[in-house]
């Protein structure tokens, strides 16, 4: 006979439990704070947003995927605001490009939120999120692993990697974007291109934010640098500006449409990630860049492998129950 709950929990263990009103579950407050610290730490260490790690970690803990994705968006809006302000003060934001990106990402984000609602109704949201993450993390992790292993092996010759990267994806996409209508000048970035390019890029990132709780910097930054040919300094500030207002809009829409933003969860993650970012930034200044990228690649690959394992190993119970919380 099943036991209602574990009566052997000590008082200390019980004190660590926090009830999340929207997720309608108890979580260990230390564990969730550590997730925030870990993601902030990676962010400070290697400059990635870390949204792609928060969502899978929360799902592993038992947080419903839609609450994990939505609260992750709110957390990113929180952590991106301070960084965006600093970039704005340094004049690193191209507001014209940023606004076109935002229009795209708001449209994409809105579409993504309603897509999430439809998938939730069909009971397929969890499947779609997990598969998107396996593809995304697998691709990013393996690419980073190969690249950083090569860099570590070639230690001392980092310039070769940069030259290779800049030469790489120029190609057809750039030519295609140059032929699109609505050619516009973006003076802050010193480029002239079709507004359709950043609009479509923003829309793609907006959909990813709604479905996966990620900021999308891993797509946006390389596309802006290599395809749209924007200066790197402006790219970082502008993508953060776009990320801030996209995640904020998605957070509002997820709360409005799916009632799925858990404020306690998001607040703990924000506090943890602020602390983690400060630690990561300090340590990052002391460690060599290629080794940092290798650490991140290993973390990403480990999360992807864990997700694949849960998909491939036959479950001990093939039925799963979700309670309709009222």
């Amino acid at each position: 006979m099943a036991i209602p709950f574990d009566p052997s929990l000590s008082n200390d263990e019980i004190l660590m439990e926090l009830f999340l009103p929207i997720a309608h579950m108890d979580v260990n407050i230390v564990l969730i704070s550590l997730y925030g610290v870990l993601v902030g730490f990676l962010s400070g260490l290697v400059g990635v947003g870390g949204g792609f790690l928060i969502t899978p970690l929360l799902i592993f803990t038992g947080v419903p995927p839609i609450v994990a994705v939505s609260s992750g968006a709110a957390q990113m809006a929180g952590t991106a605001s301070g960084a965006s302000y600093l970039h704005w003060r340094h004049g690193n934001i191209d507001f014209k490009t940023g606004l076109v990106l935002l229009v795209g990402s708001w449209l994409g984000g809105g579409f993504g939120v309603y897509l999430a609602k439809m998938l939730l109704r069909a009971g397929q949201f969890g499947n779609v999120v997990v598969f998107l993450y396996v593809i995304l993390l697998g691709f990013i992790g393996v690419s980073m692993l190969i690249e950083s292993l090569q860099a570590v092996i070639r230690a001392g010759a980092p310039a070769a990697g940069d030259a290779h990267a800049t030469a790489a994806p120029r190609s057809l996409l750039r030519t295609w974007i140059q032929r699109l209508p609505w050619q516009t000048s973006f003076p802050a970035s010193r480029v002239r291109m079709s507004a359709v390019g950043p609009l479509v890029l923003g829309a793609a990132v907006g959909i990813l934010t709604s479905l996966m709780g990620v900021g999308g910097g891993f797509i946006m930054v390389p596309v802006m640098i290599y395809v749209l040919k924007m200066p790197t300094k402006i790219v970082v500030g502008t993508s953060l500006f776009q990320l801030l207002f996209t995640t904020a809009a998605v957070s509002v829409m997820q709360a409005g449409v799916n009632h799925s933003v858990d404020p306690f969860l998001a607040l703990i993650l924000i506090l943890g990630s602020v602390l983690g970012t400060k630690l990561g930034t300090r340590l990052g200044a002391r460690l060599p860049a290629e080794k940092l990228r290798l650490i991140l690649a290993l973390v990403v690959v480990a999360v992807a492998v864990k997700m694949i394992v849960t998909l491939v190993i036959p479950p001990s119970e093939i039925y799963d129950m979700t309670i309709e919380v009222r």
Binding site: L9, A77, S81, G82, V252, V274, Y319
Partner: protein, 248 residues
């Protein structure tokens, strides 16, 4: 733990009618009329104290408010196990605890168990969409199995202590994650395979404090709640990240 984040459940008084001890074979009284549960809550102990008019067995049934659940069944898609069919299970109680002084099957015949709803897997549950009897049976069994595994359907024949064949104390433990609503507590006195005493009471569980406020705001005013909270998160992030740099 921040006091402001505390979750408060109120378990209100069992609305017991209190018959005189001389007339009734069974009298039950709750020891606690109100329980305050905070965020560090991982379940609550409730006690019921009562008296019976002589040797016999006791059964206490705690039934939670009805709750809708969605059940999904994983299927194999190539090498992957993914969520496949889903059904809605409606009409079943969120919680069903059966406490007794001995295994219920040994003190009451099946017909009586059925009559008083004392069979864990005999709980009526409505499955949507309608399925064939065979298919519905698989889902029903899975539902009860998961409910038992998660600790919401539970039978315990050692939770009631009887003193001198007259007085009894029932120690009942409620899990931390409770459905909000009214819970009924039914106490049965059994002698020679028959129910000779019957007492029904109830208590209410409601979310209160900041958790209740958050829940209501997120559901009653979702857009305002989402906008204000997101703005608050942005301001918090700004204060924590940007202000220390400004001072440098």
């Amino acid at each position: 733990m921040t006091r402001g984040l505390r979750c408060l459940f109120l378990v209100s008084a069992w609305m017991l009618q209190t018959p005189s001890w001389a007339d009734e074979p069974l009298v039950v009284a709750p020891q606690t009329s109100q329980v305050n549960i905070t965020t560090d809550f991982a379940g609550s102990d409730l006690k019921a104290i009562g008296a019976m008019d002589g040797p016999g067995d006791l059964i206490i049934k705690v039934v939670g408010p009805q709750q809708e659940a969605t059940l999904s069944r994983e299927t194999k898609l190539g090498p992957f196990w993914v969520g496949g069919d889903i059904v809605k299970m409606a009409g079943a109680p969120s919680l069903l605890f059966l406490y007794a002084t001995a295994p219920i099957a040994s003190i009451l015949p099946p017909a009586e168990q059925q009559k008083y709803g004392l069979l864990l897997e005999g709980v009526p549950v409505r499955i949507e969409p309608q399925l064939t009897a065979h298919a519905a049976d698989d889902w029903r069994k899975a539902f009860f199995r998961l409910k038992e595994r998660q600790g919401y359907y539970h039978e315990d024949d050692r939770a009631i202590r009887v003193f001198g064949n007259r007085l009894f104390i029932a120690d009942m433990r409620l899990p931390g994650d409770l459905q909000i609503g009214t819970y009924t507590v039914e106490t049965l006195l059994v002698k020679s395979g028959k129910v000779v005493g019957h007492n029904v009471g109830n208590f209410r569980v409601r979310l209160s404090g900041i958790e209740r406020w958050v829940w209501n705001a997120a559901h009653d005013y979702p857009w305002s709640f989402g906008s204000l909270f997101t703005l608050a998160a942005m301001v918090l992030g700004f204060v924590l990240n940007a202000i220390p740099y400004r001072r440098r």
